[in-house]
């Protein structure tokens, strides 16, 4: 007997794509050079709102190496309007969104002119020779002011700064009671307003586009998450038939949702390459990326939580303002709506109402950013649960236990109308508490408080769930999204026995090449090394919906399993012919096809060769084992978990140090634990960064003042603790892999855990919230404002607290 091969699924394999990605010796878009290639540079508006009164490009046209200088007026006809695929309401207001500004600019960073030159340096030099005159208009920056009567308007022709208001009401939807009743009948009603600051996705590889118009098809290389959607949309925007467009996302260095976009730059590069008949490349600088690539989050959340005095939740009312920025990009309007189904989270309650108004401002457009709607929702509810615990004098874990869905209650239909298929919040929480040493930390916290230690300890809790596996197409249709949520995969069995897997997902750092190979190796019984995963080129991967929303494994992986099973079915049929037995007698296991009860067998490689040479096939069988499948999920998947964070707050300086962080995530069945752990680590870093470090700040004129990494602070390993990560495993019941998705979990869960911990550390100073990011100054001011308001010690000189968030979070 030969030993049974260890299953690939579940193995912590190192990623096979990493060597080339980490060394950079690979096909990043900017690494590509084509014969006769020209370079494009873009002139961007330095002002946030203005009419363009003149553009003088004559001098620029005469600069060395310059072939063309183009303004928005020059391409106004052909550039169309950038697509917004998610009109969330029938009456949603959407402005024209030209790739290059025509006559007016609406945010600082909007493209005003393009230079194409023989070298990148010549193109950039020529930008300085373009003279643009602006007639400045009133700048709209604050969402609350933007929706007030008589406000200045970003787009006067729309007559309002409100794009749309979207409502979910459990009474109207029939998924629960009326929120007003729940609030009226509650013993405790808590209301808080939280700010989700504006964030910048800050992917590692800046955006880059190369367009080659010299073939029959126009080929577009782009650092994008969505080659398939981009192909469709380029055709829709420019009118070039889809058959004449080929999009390639070669290796792409991160996205975090920031490359889930059809960008102005892609359209401009496409149009100018076509106009000039030569390949044109554009690659952005980091500052350009910070300023003009879409931003994320930026919401004001007014949340009302109603409960009875025993802590039982009654109802939740969520009123959001969401900043769209100056234009609606691909899925901008829908991002806050993805949170609509998640504010109720893991809790049972009688009534729920969600209302979101999308608002225009003269800022960079917002769109998807890691978690997209779900981090905002999780932050809102998890902060409120800690506030309710404080209000009632209850332990925040115990209060959650009282209200969450018990493991035996699944499947459970929530007050927001979703059906959670599975979960075990008790198990994840128990494991997290044990790893964290919860009781000992609470004891230390008490001691530090009692002795008035200048370093106070706080403990933050986040018991989150999220919806992944975007998405059932019928649900997307009901939400007025313009596309489906299925995914495609195909498998080619090559004559040498090697296997090519073609996926419609589009990895940009996730490790699909490794994970997909593991899945196929198991399903077909072939060596891991024999599987090659092809992706990102619409000519080979002709069908797909790309990668975002933690969908690739749960949806794309399922399509892959289906395709593999079809290969096996064909192989079984052919093997029966080869082995001269009935198909029903062929057993398939570990790559072997065996006649039941005999020692006659063949293997899948032999069958693949037999099919390929096609000398002797059963009647009616095609000369191929190749198979494909498209999977459309019936339901979302619902990862969950418990994150616990302990912080030390230096009350003298306001500095926060994360002392320990424990995450126990339940992402279902895991294909590669090493990849999962990497996703969790990165997600935690990104979510913690929202709590502590990152913020896109605009000055009163609408200029981004955090336009470099010197000002927009990203943490490095030196700024983060050593994470304790663990898992529980409750399989998803909605796909054969049992997988739920892990790409966003860490980001979604961690932000409230950190802020809850900080507030917990200083609550006894009279603090009940601190605005994100919780900078040392904000924390210090919250402590000292709270102390003074409470008549507490406050040994600092009194008087003016300065202008920046002076009230901190003091009650």
């Amino acid at each position: 007997m030969t030993a049974v091969a260890e299953p690939e699924v579940g193995r912590a394999r190192r990623r096979k794509e990493d060597a080339r990605l980490i060394t950079g010796r690979t096909r990043w878009t900017d690494n590509l050079t084509l014969p006769g290639m020209l370079h494009m540079a873009l002139l961007r508006s330095p002002v946030a709102h203005a009419r363009i009164t003149s553009i003088d490009a004559d001098a620029a046209r005469k600069m060395p190496g310059v072939l063309a200088v183009v303004t928005g007026a020059d391409i106004a006809e052909e550039q169309g309007s950038l697509p917004c695929a998610w009109p969330i309401t029938e009456d949603m207001k959407a402005p024209e969104a030209p790739a290059m500004a025509v006559g007016e600019v609406n945010f600082a960073g909007e493209v005003v002119a393009a230079v194409v030159a023989r070298s990148a340096a010549e193109a950039v030099d020529a930008l300085e020779a373009i003279d643009v005159e602006y007639d400045e208009l009133p700048v709209v920056l604050d969402m609350t002011e933007a929706i007030a009567d008589g406000a200045d308007l970003v787009h006067p022709d729309l007559g309002t700064n409100k794009s749309a208001t979207w409502v979910y009401d459990s009474a109207e939807a029939g998924s629960g009671g009326a929120i007003d009743d729940a609030i009226a009948q509650a013993d405790v009603v808590l209301e808080r307003t939280f700010r989700q600051q504006r964030l910048i996705p800050a992917f590692m590889e800046p955006r880059s586009v190369l367009v080659d118009p010299t073939g029959e098809q126009i080929t577009v290389w782009s650092a994008t998450q969505i080659p398939h959607i981009l192909k469709w949309m380029i055709s829709a925007v420019t009118g070039v038939p889809e058959t004449k467009v080929r999009v390639i996302a070669p290796d792409v260095g991160g996205g975090f949702g920031g490359k889930l976009q059809v960008t102005p730059e892609e359209i401009i590069t496409f149009l100018l390459a076509r106009k000039l008949g030569k390949p044109v490349k554009w690659t952005e600088s980091r500052s350009e990326s910070m300023q003009s690539a879409h931003h994320g989050r930026d919401q004001i959340q007014k949340i009302t939580l109603a409960a009875s005095s025993d802590g039982t939740l009654k109802g939740l009312k969520v009123e959001l303002l969401a900043d769209m920025g100056a234009y609606l990009r691909l899925v901008s309007p829908g991002v806050p709506i993805l949170g609509a189904f998640m504010f109720n989270a893991i809790y049972k309650m009688d009534a729920y109402r969600f209302e979101c108004t999308n608002v225009f401002t003269n800022k960079t457009p917002t769109d998807a950013y890691r978690g997209a709607g779900r981090p905002e929702a999780t932050f809102g509810i998890e902060r409120m649960m800690d506030e309710l615990a404080a209000e009632l004098g209850r332990d925040p874990i115990e209060l959650r236990q009282q209200n969450w869905i018990k493991h035996e209650e699944f499947p459970f239909t929530t007050v927001a109308g979703l059906t959670y298929d599975s979960g075990n919040y008790e198990a994840a929480t128990a494991k997290a508490l044990e790893l964290f040493g919860y009781d000992a930390l609470r004891q230390e916290q008490r001691e530090r408080r009692e002795r008035g230690d200048k370093v106070q300890l706080g403990i933050g809790v986040s018991t989150y769930t999220e919806m992944c596996g975007l998405a059932p197409s019928r649900v997307l249709g009901a939400l007025r999204y313009a596309a489906g949520g299925w995914e495609h995969a195909s498998i080619r069995m090559l004559p040498t026995g090697k296997v090519e897997v073609i996926t419609g997902t589009s990895p940009h750092g996730q490790g699909h090449e490794t994970a997909w190979s593991q899945i196929v190796a198991d399903r077909l019984g072939v060596p891991f090394e024999d599987v090659e995963v092809l992706h990102g080129d619409t000519q080979s991967s002709h069908k797909g919906m790309d990668s975002y929303g933690s969908r690739s494994l749960a949806v794309g992986g399922t399509a892959l399993v289906m395709a593999a099973d079809r290969v096996v079915e064909k192989a079984r049929k052919l093997a029966a012919h080869m082995l001269e037995c009935s198909e029903d007698d062929v057993e398939f296991s570990g790559g072997k096809l065996k006649v039941r009860g005999t020692d006659k067998s063949t293997d899948i490689q032999s069958v693949a060769l037999h099919a390929h040479v096609a000398h002797d096939l059963p009647d009616g069988m095609e000369a191929s084992l190749d198979s494909e499948a498209t999977f459309d999920p019936e339901n979302f998947s619902f990862p969950h978990g418990t994150h616990l964070c302990a912080v030390e707050v230096d009350t003298e300086t306001g500095q926060t140090k994360i002392r320990s962080y424990v995450s126990v995530d339940d992402v279902g069945v895991v294909v590669n634990p090493l990849i999962v752990e990497g996703q969790v680590h990165g997600g935690l870093a990104q979510g913690i960064a929202q709590a502590l470090f990152e913020e896109a700040v605009h000055d009163e004129s609408g200029t981004l003042t955090t336009g470099t990494f010197a000002d927009y602070l990203l943490p490095s390993a030196a700024d983060l603790p050593s994470f304790t990560t663990d898992r529980t495993e409750t399989p998803a019941t909605t796909n054969p892999l049992g997988a739920k998705g892990v790409g966003e979990a860490g980001t979604i869960a961690s932000t409230p855990a950190v802020v809850n911990a900080i507030v917990d550390a200083v609550r006894h100073y009279g603090v009940n919230d601190i605005e994100m990011p919780c900078t040392p100054m904000r924390v210090w001011k919250a402590i000292h404002t709270g102390e003074r308001a409470a008549g507490g010690p406050g040994d600092e000189a009194g008087g003016g607290l300065g202008s920046i968030d002076a009230s901190g979070g003091a009650q």
């Binding site: 350009e288 003042t705 040392p776 100054m777």
Partner: protein, 283 residues
């Protein structure tokens, strides 16, 4: 981003460098480690017509002992300063402050003299140089002369270096046996200081015999906290004494407000960090 075009020369000696600087006029820039200059060029915040790269002049590199003082070549990378035993033995404060500069990549390229001549008030080496009474040796077409640290830093990004002058080396008096601490306050590890305090003390039998304290980013130039020093000298190194002395940390400062800290908070930080820096330097 791509810098505007410039001429580039690599002089092999100090004399050549000084001549190049003189000939190029005010529109030239000296390139040492490039960690401040290159971002400015790439963002086109400056467009000098000529870059004079002093990175290959042997005389500008290295650290030597000259009896009562050390000499640190202007183009000596931070990494070498930080590891150097002479510096650790005789000017520990400089080694400790250098350890906090940016990140390892920057410290391998950025230079001691470059950081000082750049004169960013948030830079970490200015306050130690001031506190330790370093002396700046500069060269121009009319020869060499020395500028004391107390006169070297003039304003934001402005030093007493005149057009055509090059910083050659920095003399640091020996503080053998002194203890030191640099207390840096920032939000992420590689960021500039929001506020920093450089402290060096000579403690003799529990009494603070001598003390030197400099502040980072509390004015347009580094600030010598003389009132703090005076309140420490001759006193027992007790928590009460140090706290009382630290309350003078804001004397003579003129802090700015920015997104990380307004002036009030910076003043508060200066006191807290001074207390911590001196406490560490006395223990």
């Amino acid at each position: 981003m791509i810098p505007a075009a410039f001429d580039y020369v690599v002089p092999a000696s100090v004399d050549d460098a000084v001549r190049e600087l003189h000939d190029a006029g005010e529109d030239a820039k000296v390139l040492a480690g490039g960690q401040s200059l290159l971002p400015v060029l790439r963002m086109r915040l400056a467009a000098p017509s000529k870059i004079i790269d002093i990175g290959r002049i042997p005389e500008l590199k290295g650290i030597r002992d000259e009896g009562d003082h050390l000499v640190i070549g202007a183009a000596t990378p931070h990494h070498e300063v930080q590891k150097n035993q002479l510096v650790r033995d005789h000017a520990l404060l400089i080694a400790l402050a250098t350890e906090t500069v940016a990140d390892p990549q920057v410290r391998h390229l950025g230079t001691f003299g470059g950081a000082l001549a750049h004169a960013d008030p948030a830079g970490d080496l200015l306050a130690p140089a001031l506190a330790l009474d370093a002396v700046f040796v500069v060269a121009g077409m009319d020869g060499r002369h020395e500028i004391p640290a107390s006169e070297f830093f003039v304003d934001y990004f402005t030093t007493a270096l005149r057009p055509g002058e090059l910083l050659l080396e920095v003399k640091v008096p020996k503080y053998t046996g002194w203890r030191a601490h640099y207390e840096k306050f920032n939000r992420v590890a590689q960021a500039w200081s929001i506020c920093g305090v450089a402290a060096a003390c000579r403690v003799d039998g529990g009494t603070i015999a001598e003390a030197r304290v400099g502040l980072t980013n509390m004015s347009s130039v580094p600030v010598r906290a003389r009132a703090v020093e005076q309140a420490l000298v001759g006193q027992q190194a007790t928590a009460e004494v140090i706290k009382a002395a630290a309350s003078h940390a804001v004397d003579g400062t003129l802090p700015t407000s920015d997104g990380n800290a307004d002036a009030e908070y910076r003043e508060h930080l200066a006191k807290v960090l001074t207390e911590r820096a001196v406490t560490a330097a006395c223990s």
